[in-house]
Subunit: 321 residues, 2 copies
Amino acid sequence: MHDLIESVFIKHFSNNILDNQNDAAIIPSASADIAFTTDSFVIDPLFFPGGNIGKLAVCGTVNDLAVSGAEPLYLSVSFIIEEGFRIDELEKIAESIASEAQKAGVSIVTGDTKVVNRGKCDKLFINTSGIGSIRKENLHISKAINIIPGDIIIINGMIGDHGMAVMNARESFNFNMPLESDCTSLNHLISAILNRSPVKFMRDPTRGGVAAVLNELSGKTGIGIEIDEPALPVSKSVKAICEILGLDPLHVANEGKVLIVASEDCAKDILEVMKNYEYGKDCAIIGRVVSDHPGRVVLRNNTGGGRILDTLSGDQLPRIC
Amino acid sequence: MHDLIESVFIKHFSNNILDNQNDAAIIPSASADIAFTTDSFVIDPLFFPGGNIGKLAVCGTVNDLAVSGAEPLYLSVSFIIEEGFRIDELEKIAESIASEAQKAGVSIVTGDTKVVNRGKCDKLFINTSGIGSIRKENLHISKAINIIPGDIIIINGMIGDHGMAVMNARESFNFNMPLESDCTSLNHLISAILNRSPVKFMRDPTRGGVAAVLNELSGKTGIGIEIDEPALPVSKSVKAICEILGLDPLHVANEGKVLIVASEDCAKDILEVMKNYEYGKDCAIIGRVVSDHPGRVVLRNNTGGGRILDTLSGDQLPRIC
């Protein structure tokens, strides 16, 4: 259904800026260009280990701006609330929004509230839209140009934490393992990286996970990508639960991760910057751009064997964000 | 509940820009200032005489920008869709969005789609956020300053059409009267007015109707307002249905109306501009600012008698936008 819906919108709304289909739209301007993004959050449950829908809504929009190379500045927050929703829970969510916005250094400047009758929405949905300013020298980042064989692919830490933490909280599996969402705003980290080193491409691997971002990148540019499976940072808990449930951490959503493509000679600088951040300490080079199998992502295992890594056709985990 | 919720958000999100509590946030910038606004639409039914949720979502956000004195430029559109929603209906809604955006001269530059399980939302909700540019000379408009006794209050046409058309469609009253929403983008009209005449304040009387806007204005500024009841443009159908249902058209939502406060000597110019537009032809001077009863809105009837016009405490008509 999702693909069908997307095709409807693309057909009707087509224009030069939208057709780039990045997480944030880049709007040309006389001074600094403007990045503009929107996301609706329908996560279930509203509260999960490591965050809640409010924190997530801020991080999600801040990160969409940051990975496009923009400095996130202003957010809107719009609520659709089911009648009878507990005000103390709303308070907690509002507190998280305010606190995460402060951490990220963004201002919430406009908002809206709609209340619908009981049963007409599932407790609470939040939309955040965001504006950032983007310097000319960072305009190429969301375009994924000049990527060549030999470029490396870096991630700032463990994958799959968000999706598995939310799923565990929702389904009450009660796995006795530490599982916490990685939900965090990445703009300060990304800004530090951009101040230190050139970057060719960035994207936050949320819905669809790392596999979706890599496949989109290779599909769009025609480059081949090789991922070194043993190099992938995955926590023991996520690995274990994924094995039990038959899931691949590469398809699981993250909310505090950024995938970076850069020249090999930039790797040292980028990793050094990442290691200065709590949410960058498990960073790793996870793969590289290759001249083989153009337009395809291949996963190499310990013994050198390879298999094609595809995007999942459906939503593996619904309402994860 | 609505007031309670608002107070939670104001408490947690307070900052200089948000605290102005206008329909659009004004963000200072080196060149032209930026206006930024957001609205979620939960209207029921999705299709109504004169429009649908898609057209409404564009008009609502375009108008929020326009009444703040900004030129609307870019929109985001975000959908929350109930699983199983009919694709042909989604097509119609997407078509309306595209067509209204084109009429208004705005580009849809970014979007998002979430699908939730059956029963977890009521068919379809849409969030539109918008960015406009605002010239320095129009910055005062949303601030409502310099309003003095003698200033006049103008509206561009009939009131209450949107609310009554939606209610009639929803409740299947089957009143045999022509009832159509006034849903339209007002930015071209407003821009023509601003090019011709100074304006002291503008606002679109949506949820809560004309009464809500006037009360907010008088409450915020401390001015007294007198409305000339016989001068209010109300269609026969709206008048009749309001009488039957015990409603006051002044409390009913509009989606193609703008209330303007201006000096008396600007009235002729403003009315002349309005009359050039299909949706301005029933324009009228409906009242004036007075030195009596500061902070209060008084309705004068045919015989010169007066009564205080309050805002309704609850939502008279839920899910009207």
